[in-house]
Every structure is written in C-alpha cells, then in structure tokens.
C-alpha cells in the first residue's frame, strides 16, 4: 500500500435515485447539494456543519425531489452563482431552468429547509440531440451548454428567466462532452469526443468564436476544470490521463503536465482550493472507480525563467462506489469545507467524502 500523506474518508451516502446518478452540484450560496440521474429526477439535500472540538461534522438531510419532466436522463446540473437558479441538461436535448417562486417563499429556504416548490421557469431548446453538460459563467450572465449534436451554445441570461442565444459554436467534429467557464473571465472551454479542447471568447462587436484548440489527448476528453486562480485548465480523458494546460499568454494555453495513475477513462475532475498555500487540490475519478487527489503547486520562478507546475498525489481511494463507475466528482465550494467533495456513481448513489491530512 502506498504511503500517501492524506486519506479519504466517507462522510455519508445519499440514496434515492432509481437509476445511475450522473452529476452533483453544490449550491454556491446556500447549504444545498443537488444530484441528477437517469431516473430523470433531481434530488436536493441540505446539510449542516457542526463544529465539535477539532473535527467538523457534516449532516445531510433529504430536502426535496424535482421530478423535472425531462423525457430522458438528466445528465448534468448547474447552479447559477446567485444560488437561486438551477439548470438541468437532459438527453431529451432540452435545458430546464428551475427556481422557487420568490413571492411565495421569499426566495430562500430557511435553515430548517422549509420547502417551496422548484418550478421550471424556462425550457431552452435548440440542441438537436442529447445535451451533455451545462455551466454558468462566474458572473451568472451567461449559460453554456453542449451536445452530441457537436455544438456548444452560449445563452445570455435576461431578467424574468428570459434567455437570448449569443452563439452557436460548431467547432468540434464530434460529440461535445463538457463545457466549463473560467473562474473570473468570460472564457469558455469545451471538450469533445474528437479528442480536442476548444477555447472561446466573445468579440463584443460580433459573435463568440474559438480562439484556441488544445490537442494532445489521445482519446475522448470527458471533463474540464479550471484552477481556482484561472491560470490553469485541467482536462480528463478516455486516454486515462489528466492533462494540465497553462495560460502562457493572453490567448495561448500549453500543456504543462500529464497526470497518470487511472486505469480506465477519467470521467470527471474537479479543482478546489484545498488546504494549504498551493494552487489547490485536483480530484479525478472515472471508469476505474478510483478517486485520486492531487496537490497542485508551482515552484518559485527560476532566474530568467518561469515557474513550473508541480503535482503530487496525496490521496487515493479505490472502489469509491464499489464496482460501479464513478461519473462525477465535485469539491464543496464553501469556506471551511474545502476538503469536502461529493461523487455520483452508476450505482445511483451520491457519496460525500472528506480528505484528511495525516
């Protein structure tokens, strides 16, 4: 057994989906964890953190289920930065926009998790086939989605749950698996079955356009995650590796690291703040059911040179969902819970974990 400096500990297991669970999303403002599934539903859980001596304990409570009404699997979910709106991406090709009625419920659940119903405020149509991923920009003004129809769409969020299509990007030659926004700039990344990653920005006087294509993965790119400081982009692939790309110029990204260790496809990655002074912790998981946690840091800039990215595996947990594939891993964004993450697996379960440094 490898002697790694940290271990991964299961906090709780959340049951209830009748089919494989695909994705989890932490509400950025409120203590809510959402999960979605092939059973076409979204389940919401609230959680409380109790400070007991040295060790924080987290307790999760089932809150509600949104049946969604999507005709097929809900593949991905995303919270708006305000935490008030949830977007669902479904294999029925549509995107649902969900919110609670503000007049009735005053817009928030109280700590007791008093529920007001989540309703579909808008259905965004346009994709021809299965919608695979969805993401809000850091400002919450833009929503991006991608699909098996090879397109990436950018929507502008207007008041009253109105949306305007800002761009239909037809750059990939195959199924687009994932979209991700830069943590503070309006840069969009997409990953595809065509083994490439594409980066897009807006031309204020015209349309969105692809300014870079990142090649290097030898198979499907399944997942993307920007580093919290926005200097790096990580990508997980069917070639069993995670690559890290550094922004070396305003519009130029280069591969600076290849993280190996998974025995099968990497389906999901998440880059959180982690503990310590480095660049944060990168979690990866996938078809081998193993969770890897990498501590990312950079060396001080050498004389006349540039800093170098350093990655170090600090924890590993095999069979995280027993024999099942793990579809998703997502760090908790809340202060004090930087070591907590959730996973979703083909067994229909959502599990919540924490990383404990030895």
């Amino acid at each position: 057994m490898d002697s790694l400096p940290a271990r991964i500990e299961l906090i709780t297991q959340l049951e209830g989906h009748d089919d494989r669970s695909w994705h989890v999303a932490w509400n950025p403002q409120r203590p809510i964890l959402a999960s979605c599934s092939a059973d076409k539903s979204v389940r919401l859980y609230t959680y409380k953190s109790l400070q007991e001596a040295e060790k924080a304990s987290l307790t999760f409570t089932y809150h509600t289920t949104i049946p969604t009404g999507h005709g097929k699997t809900v593949r991905a979910i995303a919270w708006s930065p305000s935490g008030k709106t949830l977007a669902t991406a479904s294999f029925d090709s549509n995107i649902g926009i969900w919110a609670q009625d503000e007049e009735e419920g005053a817009g928030v659940d109280d700590d007791k998790g008093r529920s007001t119903e989540w309703e579909c405020m808008t259905l965004l149509e346009g994709h021809e086939t299965e919608c695979k991923s969805i993401a809000y920009s850091s400002s919450g003004n833009l929503l991006a989605s991608c699909s098996r129809d090879k397109t990436v769409w950018v929507w502008e969020v207007h008041p009253d749950y109105d949306f305007e299509c800002m761009g239909v990007l037809m750059e990939h030659s195959q199924d687009v698996k994932c979209v991700a926004w830069h943590p503070h700039e309006e840069i969009l990344a997409s990953a595809s079955y065509d083994d490439t990653i594409k980066l897009y920005v807006d031309d204020p006087s015209e349309d969105w356009f692809c300014f870079a294509t990142l090649t290097g993965h030898e198979s499907t790119v399944w997942a993307l995650a920007f580093s919290p400081d926005g200097r790096y982009l990580a990508s997980g692939s069917d070639d069993k590796t995670v690559r890290v790309w550094e922004r070396v110029q305003e519009h130029k990204w280069e591969c600076v690291a290849v993280l190996k260790g998974h025995e099968r496809s990497v389906y999901s990655i998440s880059w959180g703040k982690g503990s310590g002074d480095g660049l944060g912790w990168l979690a990866s998981t996938g078809g081998d059911g193993t969770i890897h946690i990498w501590a990312m840091s950079s060396t001080a800039a050498e004389e006349g040179g540039k800093s170098t990215l350093v990655h170090k595996l600090i924890a590993r947990f095999p069979c995280a969902h027993d024999v099942s594939d793990v579809n998703s891993v997502v760090w908790c964004p809340h202060q004090g819970l930087e070591n907590v993450f959730a996973t979703a697996g083909d067994d229909g379960l959502v599990r919540v974990w924490r990383v404990i440094l030895a």
Binding site: T68, G69, H70, G71, K72, F91, D92, S93, N94, G96, E119, C120, M121, T122, L123, E125, G126, E128, T129, E130, R148, D149, K150, T151, D160, Y161, F163, E164, C165, M166, G167, V168, M170, E171, S173, D175, Y193, D194, T196, V201, D203, S205, E206, D207, F209, C210, F211, A212, T213, T215, E250, H251, K252
Partner: protein
C-alpha cells in the same frame, strides 16, 4: 463519391452544419428470389474493379451465378425527406447538380432543329455577380461592376458553353417582392398569421421544416426569386418561344448550396412534363471553376460591355422576352424583403412617415420601425435577422409573442416538462412598445446572401498563427475560415472584410446600402437612380403583362400586380407564384447513430 469539383470539406463555411452522419437506409431494389427455406444464404464479393457481387454462399459458385449489386445512391430527395442531418447541402451527395452535369447536358443536347433539343438558359443571382465582381476587382486596377461581369458571364455562357439566353434574377425578384407584398397585405387583413417570415433562404426553410414546424404558418408562401425565375423561363418564355417546359434546360447560378435543395423540392417539379422549373443549380464557385476549366478570363473585357450596362433601361420591346437587368432594390443585399414592405407601407400611409432602425448588438439583427410622424402610430414593425444564432432568438421571440409552443419531439424531447413561465412584465403602454414584429427578413448566413456558402472565397495568402508560424490547421480538421487561431476580430469568418467588399460590389457604386427611394431621392441628380427608376417602371409594366399572359384573367381591362382577378386566375397566380412547406418527421433511429 462525386462531390462537385469546386467543393472540398474545408471550403465549407455554412452555418447550419449536419448534426450527424447520414443514416438514410438504402432501399433494397433487388428482387429477392423465392427459395427454399434455409437455402438463402449468400455472400457479397468485391472484385478487383471495386464492384460488388452477390454470390451463393455454399460453394465455389462460378462467376455466372453471381449477381452484380447496385451501388447505393442517395438522392437529394432522400436528404430532404430525412432529418438525420439538418441538411447543409454541402455534406450531401450532390451528383445531380454539378458543373460536370451541365457540361454533359450541353454536350449531348440534340441539334436545335430536332424536337428533342432543349433550349439552354442560364439565370444568375445578383449576389453571385457581386462575388465575381469583387474577385475580379481585387486583382485589377479598376473596379469592375456587376453589369460588366454580367456581360462577360453572358459572353462565356453563350460563346463558349452554347447557352441561348442569359439573364440575371433581379426581375424575378421584382415579381417575388410584388407577390410578397401582396401576401403581407392578405395576412394583415386576417388571411394568415403574422409576423410573416421571409422564405427566400432555403437553409432557413430546411431548418424550420425539420426543427420548428410551428414556424411554418408564419413563413411567407411566396416563391423565392430562383423559383419565380423558373416559372418565368419554363412557363412564360417557353410559351413565347413555342417550347414546352421539358424542352428548356434551365440552369441558375446562386450564392448558396442550399438553393440546389430548393430547386429539387417536389413542389417545383412539373409532373405533366417531367421537368423541374430549375433543372440545375450551380454555385458562384462552381461557375468560376467552369470558367477556369474552359480557360475563360473573367478579368478581360468583352465587346460593348459599357453600352450594354445601360441596356436594362431601354423600355418594353414588343412581345419579346427581354427583361430589365440588374434592378437595384434598395434595402439589403439579401433581397430587400423588409425594405420593400417598409416602402409599401410608407406609400400607403396618408401622412408622412419615418423609419427608425435599431441594431440589436450587431448589424445582423436590426429592428426597423416605420411610424406615422403625425399621429405617432406604428405602421410597420420589422426586423432583419441573419445568421443561425439570431435565427434562434427570432424563433423564440415569435413563438413567445404568438403563443405557440416552440420545438417538438426530434429526439423524443419536450416530454412533460411543464414550463411555468411568467407573465411578461409591463402593462398598458409598456405592452404596446413590446409588441411583436409584423415581418422578419430571416437569412441563415451571417451577413446574408453576399456571404453565402457558395460564394468565392478571398485569396488567402498564408495560414499563419499569431507568432507567424505556419500551421497546418486542416490537419486537425479545423476549418480554415473559421479558426485562424487568432483572437483578432477577423479571425472567425476570416472573410468578414471580404464580405464587405462583396457587399460594396453588390451595390456597385451606390452608397452601401443606398438610401431608400423617398420622393427626394427619386428626382435626385444621380443618373444611376433615375435609370433605376425607369427600370422599375418597366419591371412593373412587364410584371403586369406576365400576370396577364400566365393567369389569363377573365377581363378586358389592363391589370396591375395588385389587381384581384377572378377566382380561376387567382388560383393560377397561387400555383405559379406561391408554394408551401411541410414538417419533416424525424426518421432518426437512435440505434443507428454513432455516439
């Protein structure tokens, strides 16, 4: 697979691309012999020449017992009937409409004295002339306008290829605009739905039929200029020449590949004579290729091309088939559909009116509002909306304003999601301001038809990235025109500056676009405009005469285009100048799709 030679995958710059590979199953036309059960096993063998043979599986069958199998072919109609791909015609096997096909037909044509002879006629779109003009001008000291290019194209087609007649399609467009205005008034009077949406863009029509059938009642039923030209050539000119429709071979040159699909629609097939109104559509690029293959230099002037530039304004000539040439319809370079309605409504208004134009983010989405300056009431609320992205927003807006459900079950979608929606804020006056459009000029290409997928591409010097390294973009399957790897504003289309040049060539010396012809400009000093005014008068008169000839109204009085004729004549008008649309049901079998 025989793509038209001018077309390679990296040329594609259309904006509705196929969403998946073609999965149309190939029809089995081989007769299956009735055999004993269990003895039906056969194998397929491929011989050295690549032909496929079906042979008996049990044994050393001699060559005589094998059956040669037909090569699978996918026709344009298969594509139109399938929503497997949201057909960009480019990705489809367009074997029936290529420049080699044109050469074949011309070379195998019978002698003109023979009854089997087909009169070859070519009609070219003004956007194609503009593209050729911009291309010629870019490499010559003097700019060359579309009228000269038309003379040179005419000389090439007549002298080298043997065409009998060469026209431009602006007169057909003039008729399309007249009929389109008439249809708009019908809809305003309650016979049909508003907003009316333009129908000249076949890319948009294909998309709407496959993806947004709820939009079809809004789409103008007036034929496109290409198809009006088809009617004029095969029905009206044919009668003048004493030729039946199948005795004419009509080729059009268009800025757009999807026009090939439009021409092959069942609606434009004449069953009685087994012929189409337009037999073959070439793109601008294919015409240019044809000229290059034949060694024709378009930059060389042809005799009399300057005088002939004025030929369009010489007036009616008896019962001939001369058409006014290159009629400038002020407005947009994509057909001026919106502007023609604005002018019509302004003319019909008793008081003075003013047009205000508001760009929504870019010039590809503009709102045009015509208001009565006295009463302050709105006479017409229209929009120009180009490009796939803007098209999405128009579909959403029209669907919302008209209260129709957008989208349907292409991938079994819609399902049971209950959209709660919210009442739109604002009441009273605010609601009035937020009222929907009366008309939208919809085009699928950003920049409109001058930037069509079939247009000539600008000469590209070298493919270099930001640091000046030559890079093989194509190797990565990257479209050269759309991804230069540079975050500069010209990177995407790569051709935006070029599109501007084509737009300038389109308006040939007029301001781009020229001001709408209010009373003050019509009597203005520009010789060009007064020529145009004459031309339009001629066009109006000729249009009325054609209506009379083709519809044969039961009246001795002279008719105008807006005359309502007797029922039988009106029925003929509808058959000749209108068409219809139908939803295409999805035949996509999820299992056949590569994931």
């Amino acid at each position: 697979m025989a793509f038209s030679g001018a077309l390679t995958l990296t040329d594609l710059n259309d904006f509705i691309t196929p969403s998946q590979a073609c999965i149309k199953p190939v029809e089995q036309s081989n007769k299956v012999d009735v055999k004993d059960a269990g003895s039906a096993a056969t194998q397929i063998q491929v011989d050295s020449s690549g032909s496929y043979y079906e042979v008996s599986a049990n044994g050393s069958a001699p060559a005589a017992s094998s059956t040669k199998l037909e090569t699978a072919q996918i026709s344009l109609n298969d594509c139109l009937a399938c929503s497997g791909c949201i057909t960009s015609a480019e990705s489809v096997l367009i074997t029936l409409q290529s420049h080699t096909e044109v050469l074949n037909v011309l070379s195998t044509n019978s002698d003109p004295s023979s009854p089997a002879h087909r009169v070859p006629v070519l009609s070219i779109a003004p956007q194609s002339l503009a593209s050729l003009a911009a291309s010629v001008s870019s490499s010559s000291a003097q700019p060359v306008g579309p009228s000269r290019i038309l003379r040179r194209v005419e000389a090439f087609c007549k002298d080298v290829l043997g065409f009998s007649h060469v026209f431009d399609t602006t007169f057909a467009r003039h008729i399309a605009l007249l009929e389109h205005g008439r249809e708009f008034l019908e809809r305003r009077a309650g016979m049909g739905k508003l907003p009316m949406l333009a129908s000249a863009c076949p890319g948009w029509i294909c998309y709407a039929e496959k993806t947004h059938p709820e939009m079809l009642p809004f789409i103008s039923a007036t034929k496109s200029p290409q198809q009006v030209m088809g009617t004029l050539v095969k029905e009206w000119m044919g009668a003048k020449w004493g030729r039946s429709p199948e005795q004419i071979y009509h080729v059009t040159v268009m800025p757009c590949y999807d026009k090939k699909l439009e021409a092959s629609r069942q609606d434009f097939y004449n069953e009685a004579y087994a012929t189409r109104d337009v037999d073959c559509v070439l793109t601008t690029g294919e015409l240019e290729l044809l000229m290059r293959e034949k060694g024709w230099d378009l930059s060389m002037p042809v005799g009399g091309e300057e005088d002939a530039a004025r030929r369009g304004a010489v007036g009616l000539t008896g019962s001939g088939t001369a058409l006014p040439e290159l009629i400038a319809h002020p407005g947009t370079s994509s057909g001026s559909y919106l502007q023609s309605l604005v002018s019509m409504c302004a003319d019909a208004s008793p008081g003075p009116s003013a047009l205000s134009v508001r760009a929504v983010r870019t010039a590809d989405y503009e709102e045009h509002t015509l208001a009565d300056t006295g009463a302050g009431t709105v006479l017409l609320r229209g929009a120009k909306c180009y490009g796939f992205r803007n098209l999405q927003n128009v579909v959403r807006k029209v669907g919302r304003d008209a209260g129709v459900q957008v989208g349907r079950g292409a991938a079994g979608r819609m399902a049971a999601v209950r959209v709660r929606g919210r009442p739109r804020r604002g009441d009273g006056a605010a609601a009035e301001v937020d009222k929907g459009y009366d008309y939208v000029e919809v085009m699928a290409c950003p920049g409109g038809c001058v930037n069509g997928g079939g247009q000539l591409k600008p000469a590209v010097s070298a493919q270099e990235d930001a640091e000046g390294y030559a890079r093989d973009w194509a190797e990565n399957g990257v479209k050269l025109n759309t991804d230069g790897g540079l975050p500069s504003s010209d990177a995407r289309w790569g051709t935006r500056g070029w599109t501007k040049k084509v737009e300038e060539a389109y308006w040939h010396g007029l301001p781009t676009p020229p001001p709408s012809p209010g009373p003050e400009t019509i009597n203005g000093t520009s010789g060009n405009l007064s020529d145009d005014h004459q031309k339009i008068q001629w066009a109006d008169e000729l249009a009325s005469r054609i209506l009379q000839d083709l519809c044969q109204p039961n009246t001795s009085e002279a008719i105008r285009w807006n005359t309502t004729m007797d029922d039988e004549a009106e029925a003929r008008r509808r058959r000749l100048f209108r068409t219809q649309y139908r939803a295409v049901e999805s035949e996509v079998n999820g299992l056949a799709v590569k994931w």
